[in-house]
């Protein structure tokens, strides 16, 4: 399960591609958490642009990272989710927030 991670001053961005299911979620989780625990970012950006399939394991992944970032007083943004992936995310109330700054999807 490929994930590329970019770290800058304030944020960690995880570019996820392929399929997010129960089988793949554990590997993704450990790579993302490792980066977050090293960088202590203010914002974690999960870029779903390359995701071709996702089930509730992906919601669990987002919610788990939300808890992690909350402990660090940070935020989680979900970006570029394709239509079908958005449909799954919506089941968890991960809604589009019309934030003037980001226009990104934020976990609410």
């Amino acid at each position: 399960m490929p994930v590329e991670i970019d770290i800058d001053e304030k944020s960690v961005t995880a570019y996820i591609s392929g399929e997010i299911d129960h089988h793949n979620a554990a590997g993704l989780r450990s790579k993302i958490d490792e980066a977050v625990e090293n960088a202590y970012p203010e914002v974690l950006i999960l870029d779903f642009g390359g995701v071709t399939f996702m089930d509730s394991s992906g919601i669990g992944l987002v919610m788990g990272r939300y808890k992690l970032m909350k402990n660090l007083s940070g935020k989680v943004f979900v970006e570029n989710a394709p239509r079908q992936i958005k449909k799954v995310l919506r089941m968890a109330g991960i809604e589009k927030m019309l934030s003037e700054k980001s226009g990104k999807e934020v976990l609410v």
Binding site: E19, D21, H22, H23, A25, R29, F53, M54, D55, S56, S57, I59, G60, L61, M63, G64, K67, R83, Q84, V88, M91, A92
Partner: protein, 145 residues
């Protein structure tokens, strides 16, 4: 009613088979010419049910997961997904949105909610100690559009 086509498969409850299972069902129903959304809805629902067999039904053990797909006249699909694992004592509670028996915080408790909202029909039958059977139904209406 008699199905016009059907397929049965079974496989071991290893997580690497989750993607194999949903892709196989998708390949079998491809003749009905579903559109992208319908196909994705079905793959997601199948993935939920199969993952539940593996994660909850059998836990650390390896058992068999059984899938039976029937296609009926009018492009109606019925998919049954079964395990012979631990079963569910309170099905009603298990089906509540956000209910999960997992305590590590990495499961959302939305599998049944997704199956219910992505498919036309969901039926769950379970007996503690015997196993669980989930039946999903959906009609393909798009004819590729």
């Amino acid at each position: 009613m008699k199905p016009i086509n059907e397929m049965k498969m079974s496989f071991e409850s290893r997580s690497c088979n989750e993607s194999f299972a949903r892709s196989s069902v998708a390949a079998f129903i491809a003749v009905l010419d579903p559109n992208v959304e319908e196909l994705s809805d079905i793959k997601t629902a199948v993935s939920e049910a199969v993952t539940n067999c593996i994660v909850h039904g059998y836990k650390e053990n390896i058992g068999k997961v059984y899938i039976h797909v029937k296609i009926f006249e009018g492009a109606r699909i019925q998919i049954s997904i079964k395990d012979k694992g631990c079963g569910i004592s309170d099905v009603k509670k298990a089906m509540e949105p956000l209910y999960t028996s997992c305590e590590n915080g990495e499961r959302a408790g939305l599998g049944f909610s997704i199956m219910e909202s992505f498919m036309d029909k969901l039926k769950v039958r379970s007996k503690p100690g015997k196993g669980t059977s989930v039946t999903l139904e959906k009609s393909i209406v798009s004819k590729g559009k």
